[in-house]
Amino acid sequence: MKASLYRFPAWPGTVALLVVGYGVIPIVGNSYLFEAILTPFLALSLAAVGLNLLTGYAGQVSLGSAAFMAVGAYAAYNFNLRVHGLPLLATFVLAGLVATALGIVFGLPSLRLRGFYLAVSTLAAQFFVQWALTKFSWFSNNNPSGVIDAPSLRILGLSFDSSIGRYLFALTIVVVLTLLAWRLVNTQIGHNFIAVRDNELAARVIGVPVLRTKLLAFAISSFIVSVAGVLWAFAYLRTVEPAGFNLDRSFQIVFIIIIGGLASIRGAFFGAALLVVFPLILSRVGSFLLGDRFDSGVLDMSQRIVLGLLIIFFLIAEPDGLAALWDRLKRRLLSTPNNL
């Protein structure tokens, strides 16, 4: 009991993670780790942080995250293409603002709809954005196949185009936005989010501006998700087609926050690790051990089965997600000495 009363401060863990992220990984990692594992992991983690603000904290279910990622990617591409001399980071911010505006528009139904009904209405964003990007070739600079190439990553003459540069670039943006999100949930606005989620009527009674809070949640979430989309396109794939941001991607992000833990910033990273990094590890282990006997199709199918079983196992072990599982583990480990 005593152990649970004592709360470890969060900052040493955060600092340790930053030291590992900036100090250790760049030295020990190779280009595969940076380009194929960490960069997509960071981009999807950031998208999950964004969605978690909206769904986990403010309780508004959205199935349109991939659409906002697409808006970010295409907006940044177009700002970069059409406004000469615009710094790269400015295109990121402008892309985020475009997505914010769109997020508010598609957040309007949340004023009347809740739960599943709201989820279905956010599907409109998903389909509308994909349709618009395919229909109007202006968005992809009239490229016949609708695929855009990302510009090179340069800030103040400094190039981030190497593997390690792409990783550090993505890491920095993710760290900054995650810290902002983390601060946000501990402010009055964050508390308002939770109040709206837990009981809208009670929130209204104690004076929380429910409508504004909901729209704010959509706005902030869209901003973060769209920047994740820019990272996905510019830092990871270096090319984008609208089909890359389809409903599957939206679901993937929803699953990340459910498995990682709703209303938890850490959960977004845990979930992304399980859904993005783990299948890759599984695939490599699988092809290393059994690659000679089975073809890649059989291996791929068996990986899906293993991953599915693991997800079921984790959710039974801890329905509140990996973040809660981690907390429980940590508590148990830390409390052992006191029990002796």
Binding site: Y32, V147, G297
Partner: protein, 455 residues
Amino acid sequence: MKLIPTLRRRLALSAAVAITISLTAFHSRAADQQFFPLQSYRVGPYAAGGTGFFGGFIDYLNLINLRDGGVNGVKLTWEEGETQYEVERGVEVYERLKNHPGIAAWNPLSVGIAYAMIDRITQDKTPLITINHGRTDSTDGRVFPYVFPLLLNPYSETSAIINYIGTKLGGLDHLKGKKLVVLYHGSPYGKETIPIYELLAQKYGFTVQQLEVPHPGNEQESQWLTIRRAKPEYVVLRGWGVMNPVAIKTAQKVGFPADHIVGNVWSNSEEDVIPAGDAAKGYVAITTQASGAQYPVLQEIVKKVYGAGKGNLEDKNRIGSVYHNLGIVNGILNVEAVRTAQEKFGHRTLTGDEVRWGFEHLNLDPARVEALGAKNLFHSINVTWDNHEGDGYVTFQQWDGKKWNVVSDWIAPDWALLRPIIEKSATAYATEHNIQLRTAADAERVETKPYVANK
């Protein structure tokens, strides 16, 4: 007490074993090998194309190893990574395999993945082969030194299809005033030909309506109702995977005759027509390689590769099918490019850039094709430093309900008409990306140091 020395001895022993193993592994690697990284797809909506194509490719590489002991003694090796035709998985497999020593060329068989790789492989100086598909303007080797849309780029395919329809109508001048519909797959691959159909429509005076079918394409009622209303002379099917049989079946449902549908080069396989059953009888499609297992090279594959139990296709009935034969032709082109480069640089493991040089001097005339046992399987190819397509010929085949029958000669697309359009698009790309146009002299400068990825 005794535990520790034993442990130490064991550790020493296992370390020695590990070192020996890794040394032998290193040694065997040091023997000359040429590696093909395969971004294959054997599951997902396009598995039929993936298993056939990569099956044929691997079968041919196996044939070269089993029959000839490799290319001039250089063994061919490969490793597969599953992509499911998804771009991010393709990129992951690329990152996984790009540091493998002795990479000859990449063959992703996906436009989306190919697009994502253009920057990367240009940096690595390793060829990227997009046989029968890919980015049309990558035909221009001045701008895209490492990308090869071998045999048939999408514009050539379009031109050949229009020529075929023209002949059917009684000559190209009979196209005037006629109406065509193009039903295309909603993907980068499907959209690639939109502008060229518009252009040819203007040139020949026919009208064209282009309808998109969203990926994967198992629902096409509304598109075919539109076609029924439009009453076109011909429908061009620019499909892929499950979209094709669904299109043919839906056409029958709305009463559009199958022999007035012309399939493009990715709508021409057995897997596209057999599921459609009787509805596919009379359906015509373009191809760069004939189907059937009667060609000597296929007979050898059946005897030496499948006979040794090393065949890649699970279903032996698919030997000689369109995708399998395309994989074999792709194998021939890759292997011959390596052979061409070996004649210049020596019989050893080549760098990616040396293989690029090999592709840029890949000249297989009909006599050489016959010597390779592939006469009538495909016609010929002549790739140069600035023409990365290599002037492939096409033929048309008609499905009779059981097999494909060739219904035309080997036809040349209208290259002279297309070249200026391709050059315009390629130079626009070069300007946008600050690329200096390559010259013939640049193409002769070859990187002979193996590629090492930096961080």
